[in-house]
Symmetry: C2
Subunit: 602 residues, 2 copies
Amino acid sequence: MPIKTRSTRIRVSGTRTASSARAAARKTTKGAAGKAAEKTVSQKMPKKGEERLRIVPLGGLEEIGRNMNYFEYEDEIVIVDMGFQFPEEETPGIDYIIPNIASLEPVKDKIRAVIITHGHLDHIGAIPYLLGRLGNPPLYTLKLTKVLIERRQAEFPNAPKPNIIEVKYGEKKNVGRYFDLEFFGVEHTIPDSMGVILKTPVGNIVHFGDFKLDRDREGNIYQFDEVQRVGRMGVHTFMMDSTNALEEGHNMPEYVVEENIEELLKNAKGRVLITTFSSMLTRIAEFIKMAEKQGRKVAINGRSMRENVDAAKALGYIKFKEGTLIPVQEFNKYKDDKLMLLSTGAQGESNAGLTRIVNGEHRYVQLKKGDTVIFSSSIVPGNERSVQILTDNMARQGAIIHNVKIVDIHSSGHARAGDLKLTIETLKPKYVMPVHGYYYFRFAAGKLAEETGLPEENVKMMDNGQIALLTKDSFEVTKEFVPANYVMVDGLGIGDVEEVVLRDRRMLATDGMIVLIVTLDRRTGRVLKNPDIISRGFIYLRDNQELLRDIRHKVRGIVGRIPKHQSLDADYLKSLFRDQIGQFLFHKTHRRPMVLPVVIEI
Amino acid sequence: MPIKTRSTRIRVSGTRTASSARAAARKTTKGAAGKAAEKTVSQKMPKKGEERLRIVPLGGLEEIGRNMNYFEYEDEIVIVDMGFQFPEEETPGIDYIIPNIASLEPVKDKIRAVIITHGHLDHIGAIPYLLGRLGNPPLYTLKLTKVLIERRQAEFPNAPKPNIIEVKYGEKKNVGRYFDLEFFGVEHTIPDSMGVILKTPVGNIVHFGDFKLDRDREGNIYQFDEVQRVGRMGVHTFMMDSTNALEEGHNMPEYVVEENIEELLKNAKGRVLITTFSSMLTRIAEFIKMAEKQGRKVAINGRSMRENVDAAKALGYIKFKEGTLIPVQEFNKYKDDKLMLLSTGAQGESNAGLTRIVNGEHRYVQLKKGDTVIFSSSIVPGNERSVQILTDNMARQGAIIHNVKIVDIHSSGHARAGDLKLTIETLKPKYVMPVHGYYYFRFAAGKLAEETGLPEENVKMMDNGQIALLTKDSFEVTKEFVPANYVMVDGLGIGDVEEVVLRDRRMLATDGMIVLIVTLDRRTGRVLKNPDIISRGFIYLRDNQELLRDIRHKVRGIVGRIPKHQSLDADYLKSLFRDQIGQFLFHKTHRRPMVLPVVIEI
């Protein structure tokens, strides 16, 4: 649901709340968006000498996805991440939801750097849509992320060639008078994930991107020295990934996940089919390693996964012997117990690799009795039903299925409560600003910070679009907002699908519609021919001839009751049709189709 | 997704599969449904003397919900349950999905009894829609279920007054020459849940309805003597609730759930708001008991919950002191720590009690800082988003929230794997027929039966509509099917929403539609006036005047290119508009709205 509708749900009397402020900000979105935003911005710009840093989150604070924050000091702006969000139930037909950059476009000349923390779509997905509109500023990121961004950008013919400055862990970059950057490594589910220290005149702002802590068999945490090093540098504000703040304890170590999967593989007598997100490159690398251990050949099914593996291999992030990877065309040339297939489609997506195999629509691979299928991914809410259908169909064909429910083979890429606390204790920040997640997730993350001893007032809960002003010793969350409502991508259109179109889609989906075409004689006001009726999604009219007759009769009745001397007003007539036919249909069916009258006068 | 679409996903070459048989059965549904079904039925009717019992599951085997099975021996039929199912993502706008009774209607005179195991909607929900069409046969059920059925039936003015025969645990009923019934108690989440033994000429068919095993502090299982007694009577076929077959171990005992909630209540300094399903009467009774312990008054918010509590109280299933229950209007008259509110809306439903409180739309109760909110229910898949919105809004208002994720306060009403195995071991059935759940759930349930030592061939996997023939020593799952596809309730219509209407709704929801009204001069073939264009859910036309102009231009062009000498064919013209305008719009927008042309010739 777009923010418009959602925010109306909140009503706290008395003070001007986040939502009402957001509502005010929202009004500025359509048409005059740029200008209005500029005004908001300049009003609140710190005057020279005031030395205030502005933090503005544009997305990722009231949803999972479309992560984007920017930082402004005097005439310099630095952006962290440009992700998109997948559509929701309330945004039918939409492809993606991207951050609103209305407040940045008028000041795009100030942008000194865009830092991309890693290559997942909720961090890079909006780049092709936004980069050009922001004057193609330089992107700072690591090698794999660079390749993924470039490849994606090439699919958008009108998007500019990105100007990417490849950086390394530990590297420092100066990107203006007020911003020095330093990058550090974090553990996540894709190689080349990083965090960034923004060294500003008010202090170090540390953004970890997405991260978790992963332990080895001795309990040592990988790259924890990096966390300690960042902590020693002094942290003004820690922008903290809150995705898993509600999950207690620590993440299951990757080596345990690996062992569980290895155990499953050992017991698999036939072929092994594994499905996961194509972006889970760290996990995919593990699967290939284990296949080699068991002497299995590996075929990769699904374009996105194949491309990601190619990229990671070219950069040396995935290593395997010559001959381990085979084309999916050759999958049937080997013995069953010498085969592993890695496939997209873990969410039951209708066109994805695994679905085509299970439905018997795949050219080279068919499911067969004795196949072991491993789902190494959790189900994204909303996909339960399609995954259930897929699972049922696999079980019917005799596959042995393992999923997260049965064996824990998916470990999330986001730090859980215990590790978030450990990170806060190590960084010792003055302020914690929870990012990445719904309010409740971030609220829980904030509570964790308090449990480490941080005063409640130093936990900074913000909303998308809200402006914070920071000095060396303060972090003020203002009541000012820049536009941050959903910008929807639908086909070639960006931002042209507004709430009114979505509302219509939802209405049409519920009860369908009926079009009444009434041709009138302009002079006599009489209905000239039998009204045409078109209906879709309401009722199958061919089976309901009687209703059709009744509607026509009703239409003639409405026209007939208009006094002869009264001149015809098409708009008035239409409103009569809408109301009275609508009521009539509700009475007859208890449904409320959209009634669309057309009056043609001749 | 209705079975039509779903079953096309399965393709197993060679044998005639369940799905293809189902496809064949499906063809008989529309119009001639009754007749065709009758034919299927009579073809497969066992001849006299063959002594075969037919089991036909009409629902609940490929979904969660619309549970209904019938049993036929010669000229006698007994039905167990008549539930409905809540709509799915793929059935937009639908109210409920009910079982297809096409195979029963022509033989309704044979129906001797309908047994209703308990009062949940997935077991009683379809009664008002089906009872009249089946000749109002007698219902056998327990007291509370009787009241719930009667009250619901009264809300349907055209439904017949049900003829309910109230039975007790342990009671026996003879309902025909071939069917003796015996009822026994089971543990579930609503009082008066029962199982039934159908004593037939081939042996005892035992249906447990929904059940779980619940343990006291000493580990003794409540009502387990009943399970043992049923086992001693000899079980031919055990029809087994598979809902929780994928969950390992035992259910968390209710006393632990109670303790956890009591602990939460003890720590609550202010008001306590608890939300759960209004049908979870056992749990609701516990909450009221605990409120009394702590000296809290209880208000009930939500009509369905209030009515259920009234019914249960009148029957003595919920006991509390005079004055414990207060009207919700008086909620603000007491001190915060003396208050408990029980509310509907655990799924974030837009009009439910809790949502209205959280949104500030409730007349008497507003959320405030320090309120403790307890979600004592799991989230039904598909409701994640609305529950998230609700939770976020509560957290914003300072509520302290507890849900299943944080503390285990919801214990499912369905036996988990360990208890299913224990039940099988105790009953020692010849055959196990898993019911209630998706194929994969039932498949897992079947595997559990095998683990107890039952031969694989004695686990009977069936599909909705499939016919099984039983003798004393055999259980044959035939390849014959009766119609069992979805029957959809939408407003007043039952079964009138077909796949074509749903497909249109899904299309309209994705890309909307555009209506082109083209008025032509019949003689000259010229376009008489500027084509009218109506569009909804596609693009906001007011902001896209240029596209509108282009479409009109295109329409004129299409008409203009038809040679003068060619006579106008409206259907041909319409197909030209559909194709060419559709292509044009896709080219311009990458969206595929439904194009609906209207040609008016004058």
